[in-house]
Amino acid sequence: MQIYLPIAEISVNAFLLLGLGGLVGVLSGMFGVGGGFLITPLLFFIGIPPAVAVATGANQIVASSVSALLAHLKRKTVDLRMGTVLLIGGLVGAAGGVSIFNYLKSLGQVDLLVNLCYVVFLGIIGGLMFIESLNALYKTRSGKRQPRKKHTWIQKLPFKMRFRVTGLYISVIPPLLVGAFVGLLAAIMGVGGGFIMVPAMIYLLGMPTKVVVGTSLFQILFVTAFTTLLHATTNYTVDIVLAVLLLIGGVVGAQFGTSLGTKLKAEQLRILLALLVLAVCGKLALDLLLQPSELYSIGFTS
C-alpha cells in the first residue's frame, strides 16, 4: 500500500515504514535505547530527504521516550532535579544545533555534517561499548569487579548543588555541559542522544546506574520535543504522516523487544548492541570513503 507523505512529498510503502518502525522498536525495547541513531539513517536509505528524516526522527523519539519515562516514573528512578539541570543545558544546545543545521543546509554541507557526526559518535560509542562488554564478560567469568574511578577535578568546580535522588553533591557545570552537548547532537543528528548521555552520566558525573536511564529519558523527552518544534517552525520538515506510521510500528515493536531482551544476559545484549552500532557506523563510513556512483546532487536555494 503506497502512501503519499505530505511534507516529504514522496510516495512510500506504508508497510515498509511500519516494518521499519517495528524493527527499531524491537531493538529499542531490547537494548533500552531510543533508536534514533538507527531510524534516521534507515530513513535516508529509503529515500526520505535528510532534513525531513532528522526532524521526524526527533518526533518519533518523543513518543518512545514518553512510553519509557512513564515506566521509570512509577519506579521512582528519575532524578527530576538533575534532569532539569541537564535540560537547561540541552535546550541551549538544541537551539545552537538547529542554527548550525540551517547554516550548513544553506552551504550544502548538511548531509556531510550529519553523516560525519554519525560515523564519529557511533564509532566511538560502539567501539567503547564492545570493548567494555567483552571485558565485562571476561570479568564475570573470572569473578572480579572493576572499581569505579573518582573524577576529582569535577569535585573542585564551583556552583555546587545537592541532587537527593542521585545522592550527589556536585557542581552544576558538568551536567549543564553534558546536557548542552547532547542537545546539540539531538538537533543535528535527529537522535535523543541517550547513547552518549548514559555513559557520560555514569563515567563523568558518577551517577548511580539505576537512576541514569530514567533521568536521561526525562531530558531527552524535552530536548527532542523542543527540537521537533524548532524544526517544524523554521524548516517545515516534520512529516506527521511519516511520524505516525513509524510510531505505530515502534510502540508495538518496543513491547516485543522488551520481552525478548529479558531472555538474554546483559553482557550479551550489550555486545549485540555494540555490533549493531558498529555496523551502522561502518555503512555510513563507507559512503563517505568510497567514490559515490553519482558525484552530483540537487539542492534547493532557500
Binding site: P6, I10, N59, A63, S64, A225, P292
Partner: protein, 256 residues
Amino acid sequence: MIRRYVAAALAWLAFGAIAQAEEDIVLGLNQTEVSIATNFNGSEIIIFGAVKRETPIPESSQLQVVVTVSGPSKPVVVRRKEKKFGIWVNTDSVEVDRAPSFYAVATSGPIRDVLSGVEDLRHKISIPRAIRSVGAPMTITDSPAFTEALIRIRSQENQYQLDETGVTVDQQTLFRATVQLPAALVEGDYDTRIFLTRDGNVVAQYETLIDVRKVGLERWLYNLSREQSLLYGLLSLAIAISAGWLASTAFALIRR
C-alpha cells in the same frame, strides 16, 4: 498615425486568418486536475486531439506532433562532490535559475527530425532548452556538466522524460499521447503545450494548464505546516506523546 494602427490591425487579422485557415489544434485531456491524496501513487495523463483545417492536407511534408508537460519551476543548486582529506565532500556548485520540477516531452518521431534547432530554442521544447542556467561562478569551467548532471539525475527519477514514440498520429489528423506522472510529484500548475510541426517548423501551438493539487488530509496538513507551523509542531508532539502514553498503558494492562 491612426492609419498605421489600422494597417497593423489589418495585417494581424489577415495573418491570424491565414493561421486559422491552415492547421489548428482541438484538444482533449482525460483529466485537467490531478489530485494528490494519501493513496497517490503516480498518475497517467492522456492528451488527445485533432487537427482542424479548412484546406486539404498539405502533401509536401509529414505532420508531426510534440507534447510537453512541465511542472512548476524552481531555482536549484547542483553540487559536485570531490575527495578532500580522504572523504567525499560537496565542493563546486552551480545555480540553475530555472529547472522545472517535472518535465516530459513526447514526440511523434526522433526529436531532431521533428523539430529544428531554431524552433527548439524559440519555444524551449527539448529538456536541455527547458532548463536555464546562467549563474555559474568564474571558478567553474565545466558548467555544462552540472546541467547535464541535473538532467541525468532527474531522468533517473523519472522526473524528466523524453519519449520519441510517445505521440501517435493517425492520418495526419488525430493524435494521442500519454504522459506518466511519477509518485513523487510536486503540486502546482502543470503547463501543457502541444506543437504541430512540418519540416521542423512549428505551424500551430496550443497551451493549457493541468492543476496538480494536494487534496484532503494532505492539503490540510501541508497548509497547517506552512501557515500555522507552531500549531503543527504542537500537534505532532501531542500525537507522539499520546501514542507513547497509550502504548505504555495498554501494555501495562496486558501484562497485568
